[in-house]
């Protein structure tokens, strides 16, 4: 059975801290891994990773994929209260064509206190 596991399930930090969120997966025919941020609304896209060892960066957020060990991490440096959200990891499997069905983890709830 395909599965995506995120850890920790929740995390409370202070502004300025650096956090690392984890996502491990066991899926057949891996194609890509995506990270989303969800506040009290729809998930918003952060990164898509397809190759091992290539870091994706956007401001204070960065992510990397390890296809050998089957995991990805999302780093947030110098956290701000606006980073408080649920962070979702999702994996797309190659089922032929360009279909991008996603299997999601349960998310990590990050709370950043001032």
């Amino acid at each position: 059975e395909d599965k995506v596991v995120q850890s920790p399930l929740s995390l409370v930090v202070h502004e300025g801290d650096t956090v690392t969120l984890n996502c491990s997966y066991e899926v057949t025919n891996f194609r890509s891994l995506l990270w989303y941020k969800q506040e009290k609304k729809a998930p918003t896209f952060l990164f898509m990773l397809t190759s091992s060892g290539i870091e994706k960066k956007s401001g204070r957020l960065s992510s990397i994929l390890d296809k050998k060990e089957l995991f990805s991490i999302l780093n947030i440096t110098a956290t701000q209260t606006g980073d408080s959200a649920v962070y979702l990891c999702a994996v797309n499997m190659n089922s032929g064509g360009s279909n991008y069905k996603l299997t999601f983890g349960k998310g990590t709830l990050l709370t950043v206190n001032p």
Binding site: A42, S98, K101
Partner: protein, 111 residues
């Protein structure tokens, strides 16, 4: 933001009532998806479409049907709503490079 709208945004209905949720996109993307999000379960795929009149089931399709008569519209129907279908429903679209974008969501309550 990707050009995705969902309607209605909120709905309260009674058990046994038929309900249709609409997803509309302006991006002309081929693939469209319906997910539901529930505490403890995360986001789960209900149905998806890979073209006009081409649809297939996801992991939680029981009790749901879909239709896609135009590229821009993807409808999700609950033929006879049950309380277990109380959820937040998200539509998503994707293009050939693999980026998947979500609509604003519909909060459905079945009493």
């Amino acid at each position: 933001d990707a050009g995705i709208t969902q309607s209605p945004r909120h709905k309260v209905t009674e058990t046994g009532t038929p309900v249709t949720l609409r997803c509309h996109q302006t991006e002309n993307h081929r693939y469209m998806y319906w997910y539901r999000q529930d505490p403890g379960h995360g986001l789960r795929l209900i149905h998806y479409s890979y073209g006009v009149k081409d649809t297939d089931k996801g992991e939680v399709s029981d009790g749901y049907s879909v239709s896609r008569s135009k590229t821009e519209d993807f409808l999700l129907t609950l033929e006879s709503a049950t309380s277990s279908q109380t959820s937040v429903y998200f539509c998503a679209i994707s293009e050939s490079k693999g980026f998947v974008f979500f609509g604003p969501g519909t909060r459905l309550t079945v009493l």
